[in-house]
């Protein structure tokens, strides 16, 4: 990710300027009152409060305390030194709109399709073009529909991933499923409610404007006894015995949503490491991630996404690497040699969040799938370089294996002698 280069460059610049890396970022953040912000690339950043997220992460990581400890611990001759590093990312997510993707040479569009079908059995079918493989779409989409239609999430069936059922859809990537596919579902719910309102008005002999919709039931303003639940309307729509003139039977709506802009999640990750300078071994003492993905539909899924992403980013920084010999043969083709961290190799991860809704879509959501991976690699490497800076180390290739770290220390020491 570009964030890796940007966040490494920020630390290098702070080092040259002789100021704290956190202060350099603070001076350069786009301030929250500047959003929506048109960048020199022409892209429009939707919303953000970067300083708030950074300050929250700094407090959670005890940034000042670690800096104070570092001053006493990282002395000449010390064999255990500590470092703290951050990554304050700003990410282009929710990949869409289609026209902009075309200008970026994407071969596909940026829309997603959703169908909402309220069955006469009082079950709601959701057909989504997003294809979950562990991201919890069934759960989150059910929650969106339950919120909109006033039904229980248990009564919502999410159908997906089979072209015989859900032929219209693009991809699950780029943290786009919620800000594109999830919003399509919310908009399709709105269309269902609009149609149901016509049927309710007809049967309750009221004007559409006089109807309230709450808790899954339409009622006439001022006369709560005159009411029709959505289930009854769905049944009426199915029998079609008594529908307004010109209205098609069945309570179903389809929406294809092509958002007007990307969404822009952001956050600050802070990693604290201790390094054994004799062996090069890196021990991650603490990892703090404060992410802002706008409104959260399901906070547990958000946490799970961040945990998984952070571990993948940590793995890139410390473990994973495809090694080839000079003839192009992959030398670590088994999982005994290609190092994927197991549960016991992962440090404690502390999560926090701020909520800055996106003004681009009616749910105010931004996407969370990539936040962890994007933040973790630069935060870890910045922490390692920070721990070793007093020894003259300025760069650290990934993965920062013990051998690589040991070499970097030795080379820096050789250069300074």
């Amino acid at each position: 990710e570009a964030t890796y280069a940007i966040e490494r460059a920020m630390d290098a610049l702070a080092d040259v300027m002789g100021i704290d890396p956190m202060e350099l970022r603070r001076r350069n953040f786009i301030r929250k009152e500047q959003f929506p912000y048109t960048a020199f690339t022409g892209l429009v950043y939707d919303s953000g409060d970067h300083e708030l997220a950074m300050d929250k992460a700094a407090a959670m990581a005890d940034y000042a305390g670690v800096r104070a400890r570092q001053a006493t611990q990282n002395v000449p001759g010390a064999t255990k030194v500590i470092g703290i590093g951050q990554a304050s990312y700003f990410e282009m997510c929710g990949l869409a709109p289609s026209r902009v993707l075309a200008s970026l040479n994407y071969s596909a569009g940026g829309w997603e399709a959703a169908t909402i079908r309220v069955l006469p059995t009082n079950k709601v079918q959701v057909v989504t073009g997003t294809a979950p493989h562990g991201q919890g779409h069934e759960t989150a989409w059910s929650m969106i529909v339950a919120d909109k239609l006033g039904v229980s999430p248990d009564d919502v069936d999410v159908l997906h991933s089979d072209t015989a059922i859900a032929p219209l859809g693009l991809d699950t990537y780029g943290s786009r499923s919620l800000p594109v596919g999830g919003v399509a579902i919310a908009l399709a719910c709105d269309k269902v409610i609009d149609k149901a309102r016509k049927i309710a008005a007809h049967q309750l002999e009221a004007s559409e404007d006089d109807l309230d919709f709450a808790g899954g039931t339409f009622s006439v303003k001022g006369s709560p006894d005159r009411a029709l639940p959505l289930a009854a309307i769905a049944f009426e729509a199915f029998t079609a015995h008594n529908l307004p003139d010109g209205l098609e039977p069945n309570l179903e709506a389809q929406v294809t949503y092509d958002p007007p802009n990307f969404s822009w999640p952001f956050g600050t990750h802070i990693c604290t490491v201790e390094i054994d300078t004799e062996t090069g071994q890196v021990d991650v003492l603490q990892y703090v991630a404060v992410d802002d993905c706008g409104n959260q539909v399901n906070p547990m899924i958000v946490e799970g996404q961040v945990h998984g992403g952070v571990i993948q980013g940590l793995a890139q920084a410390l473990f994973e690497e495809a090694v080839y010999d000079t003839d192009g043969n992959l030398k670590n083709a088994s999982l005994a040699e290609y190092l994927v961290p197991a549960a016991c190799d992962v440090p404690p991860i502390t999560l926090g969040h701020t909520v800055t809704p996106s003004p681009t879509n009616p749910l105010g959501v931004k996407g969370i799938g990539e936040a962890g991976t994007i933040g973790a690699a630069p935060a870890v490497i910045n922490a390692i370089v920070d721990a070793l800076s007093h020894l003259g180390v300025r760069e650290m290739p990934m993965p920062a294996s013990p051998h690589t770290v040991w070499n970097a220390i030795r080379n820096a020491q050789g250069a300074s002698k």
């Binding site: 004799e278 062996t279 071994q281 410390l318 473990f319 090694v323 030398k331 670590n332 088994s334 005994a336 040699e337 190092l339 961290p341 197991a342 016991c344 190799d345 294996s401 013990p402 051998h403 040991w406 070499n407």
Partner: protein, 274 residues
Amino acid sequence: MITAPFDYVRAESAAQAISLIGQHGDEAKFLAGGHSLLPLMKLRLAAPSVLVDIGRIRDLSYIRDAGDHVAIGALTRHMDVETSALLAEHAPLLAHAASHVGDPQVRHRGTIGGSIAHADPASDLPATTLALGATYVAQGPNGTREIAATDFYQGFLESALAPDEMLTEIRVPKMAGAGWSFQKFNRRAQDWAIVGVAAWRRGTESGVALVNMGSTPILATSVSGALAQGASVGDAAQLAAEEAEPQNDLNASPEYRVHLAKVLVRRALEESSR
């Protein structure tokens, strides 16, 4: 990831196992816990035509006080070595080293005899028993014999066992209050050591063995020799790799391995001297 075809027979006693291996010849292998042999077979680095399963020979799973040493049956699982009260008292270095083998699943299946007979220089228990001056007991068609650990490891995955001999017991001298340390340096908890050190020290006596510093487990005799002559821990540790032939692999160059061996031997001796 699928083995070559092989036949499988199960032995109910050591004598039967030795008889079966004799019948099937050189291409037969003993199968104990299977946590070294089966991965090699799945990678097609080993392709025995017959496996003689000795894993159910219950009377070779024991840990007994035998006077000046502790006798451990070859089919004792790592988890039993790790948690043995007898070993905690008389050979705590071995019990602790067993807790570093693989992961809990491996330790519940793998056996100390299997690990030693496999003679992998990267495994923890061959080097640990070597440092402790253990003696191994082998049973063959003509009876049993004792093999000193110092004579046992002959090359990469090669031991002094004859093809029709079975390792039946490991005899570990009691540590008699010696200080000890086990240093395992790796990138992930479940991995083999990049470099490991098993060490004990009692007065002028010591034993130091290295994991993954050559084609066999390495006894660092120069270190013990220097300590016996009164060298400081720091000076003795500089001799850590005198007997080693460190290899190059994805995790470490020979130069880095030598450096790690010196650092880890120093730390191990410091811990053993406390």
